[in-house]
């Protein structure tokens, strides 16, 4: 048996611990008072008792508060369903306009993508605040904010999955004399469908979570209730609401996971 001649490992490469060292150094630097955010770690020691009190209340949910939460929770779910459905319906054609294989014409693609970048750059809370001013307090501004939020996410993710698709079947459609719209409907859509359904389920979960925040600016749902009980320092009631949201999110996660597994 002859000895193996292993080539020497090349030098001058970044070692993982070098990178880790840089990350640690930068982080510590950012914490220094004066240059960075100025962390006052001692404040934790001074105030921990107040925090402990709150945590204690959060750990003892006020179950008698349950009847009052049912209505807002249902409103949250309704907002999420409507927002997802409308957002998904808008997103499907827009996704095809935003992807290269299904829209070879660069200028319209650039316009669609530009608009979507703007839509995504604005936080949903800002949409909700502006829309509450425009259409008044309630579920409607919340739903509209969710629709914008959903279109931004679904189109981004679905059009990226179209961009990564196999171009062969689309070429076959072109060779058969089909128009781009026909190709998109007859060939691209069936292959995009699973990604679309999967992303729609994902934003549905996000919508349930988001509506806990939207209520803070008066855009309906369970968030309104969260804002109210928080204002009165009823952390035991707040705790119940959080538990309910948690239960809903876990259920949705399980259900959408089951659906996704059947998508293939």
């Amino acid at each position: 048996m002859t000895a193996l001649v292993v080539p020497r490992r090349p030098k001058g490469r970044w070692m993982p611990w070098t990178a880790a060292g840089v990350v640690v150094a930068v982080t510590v630097f950012m914490c220094l008072p004066g240059v960075g955010v100025g962390l006052d770690v001692a404040a934790i020691a001074r105030n921990w008792q107040q925090g402990a009190l709150r945590i204690g209340e959060l750990l003892t949910p006020d179950w008698s508060f349950f009847p009052r939460t049912v209505g807002p929770i249902l409103e949250t779910l309704q907002m999420a369903v409507i927002g997802t459905a409308v957002g998904a319906a808008i997103s499907l054609p827009v996704s095809f306009w935003a992807a290269r294989p299904t829209n070879p014409f660069a200028p319209t693609r650039a316009v669609v993508r530009g608009i979507l970048n703007v839509i995504r750059a604005v936080p949903e809370l800002v949409y909700a605040a502006v829309l509450v001013a425009m259409v008044g307090v309630g579920a409607l501004p919340g739903i509209l904010a969710l629709v914008l939020f959903n279109v931004g996410i679904i189109v981004k993710l679905v059009s990226e999955s179209i961009d990564a698709t196999d171009l062969g079947p689309l070429e076959a459609g072109r060779a058969a004399g089909a128009t781009q719209t026909q190709i998109n409907r007859a060939i691209a859509l069936p292959d995009t469908w699973p990604a679309f359904v999967s992303q729609t389920l994902y934003v549905f979960e996000l919508n349930v979570r988001a509506s806990t925040v939207l209520g803070l600016v008066g855009a309906g749902g369970i968030g309104l209730l969260i804002d109210a009980v928080r204002t009165f320092y009823r952390y035991d009631q707040l705790s119940l609401v959080i538990v309910e949201v948690l239960v809903i999110v876990v259920v949705l996660d399980t259900v959408s996971d089951a659906i996704r597994r059947r998508l293939v």
Binding site: A172, A176, A178, T179, Q182, P190, D191, W193
Partner: protein, 272 residues
């Protein structure tokens, strides 16, 4: 490996074949690569042409200039006496509607049914609203069933395309081309992804399309025994030029050596 049953009464799939004429056609890709150098060809209606050459020789470009998937940089391309070069996109779609195409990688939409894939062959003759609602005409569906029957895959009509074997997928692709009631069928390396027996079955299908329906067939191959066996005429390509044009059956190994620019090896044959 089933061969399609020759059902009588499928003349619906046949229509008067078209010839192909190329006159001084050159193709230069945007990146500067030259695909074709002043190629002139005259193909009569009903011929089965085997185009041979190494990869990069311009076979794929040649076949794609016929239906305009690759536009000719200069020269004249005609199918059935109709100009392909310089045609408007609408006119091009209309011409493509008469020209079926089969690809090396089958190019089916994997997640939808065999039927939906075959119906893609009717898109050039289907209004947009029918496409959007998936409401194909009854006559179009019948054409699709007949084409599938011809390649022996009617029992698979409701299966997902991706659930079929490679040979079956290529047959579905042939059925898709047939559903166009094509006057020409182009096949770009149709058997390069298939094992030898399956390759033969697919080549048999193409030959039947040519012999029974009279459709002009232009097929790219890189295996010389298949070219010799199936072609009525052979065109050899090298570096974007036609370097051989003659009967396929009598082409010798020396002819192939001249086309390939090297001596013929066992790897150039389907059966070693």
């Amino acid at each position: 490996m089933t061969t399609g049953s020759l059902t009588p009464g499928v003349e619906a799939l046949a229509s008067a074949p078209w010839g192909i004429r190329l006159d001084g056609v050159s193709v230069r890709y945007p990146n500067g690569t030259v695909g074709l150098k002043s190629v002139s060809l005259d193909i009569a209606p009903g011929e089965l042409i085997a185009v041979v050459g190494l990869s990069g020789s311009g076979k794929s470009t040649l076949i794609r200039t016929v239906n305009g998937l690759v536009p000719a940089t200069s020269g004249v391309v005609e199918v059935g006496g109709r100009r392909v070069d310089g045609a408007s996109s609408r006119r091009l779609r209309e011409l493509r509607g008469h020209i079926g195409m089969v690809f090396q990688s089958f190019n089916l939409a994997g997640r939808t049914t065999v039927l939906n894939n075959v119906l893609v062959g009717r898109l050039a003759h289907t209004p947009l609203w029918r496409t959007l609602f998936g409401a194909y005409r009854e006559a179009d569906r019948r054409l699709a069933f007949e084409a599938l029957d011809r390649v022996g895959l009617l029992p698979k009509v409701w299966d997902r395309a991706s659930a079929l074997s490679g040979g079956q997928q290529q047959r579905v692709a042939i059925a898709r081309a047939l559903t166009q009631q094509p006057r020409i069928v182009l096949a770009d390396e149709p058997v390069a992804s298939l094992d030898p027996p399956t390759a033969r079955g697919v080549m048999d299908d193409l030959r039947r399309i040519n012999e029974d329906l009279g459709i002009t067939v232009l097929v790219n191959l890189h295996l010389l025994d298949l070219a010799r066996e199936y072609g009525t005429r052979m065109i050899g390509m090298r570096a974007g030029e036609v370097v051989y044009d003659g009967p396929a059956a009598s082409a010798t190994d020396a002819d192939f050596a001249q086309i390939y620019g090297r001596s013929v090896t066992a790897a150039d044959r389907l059966e070693r």
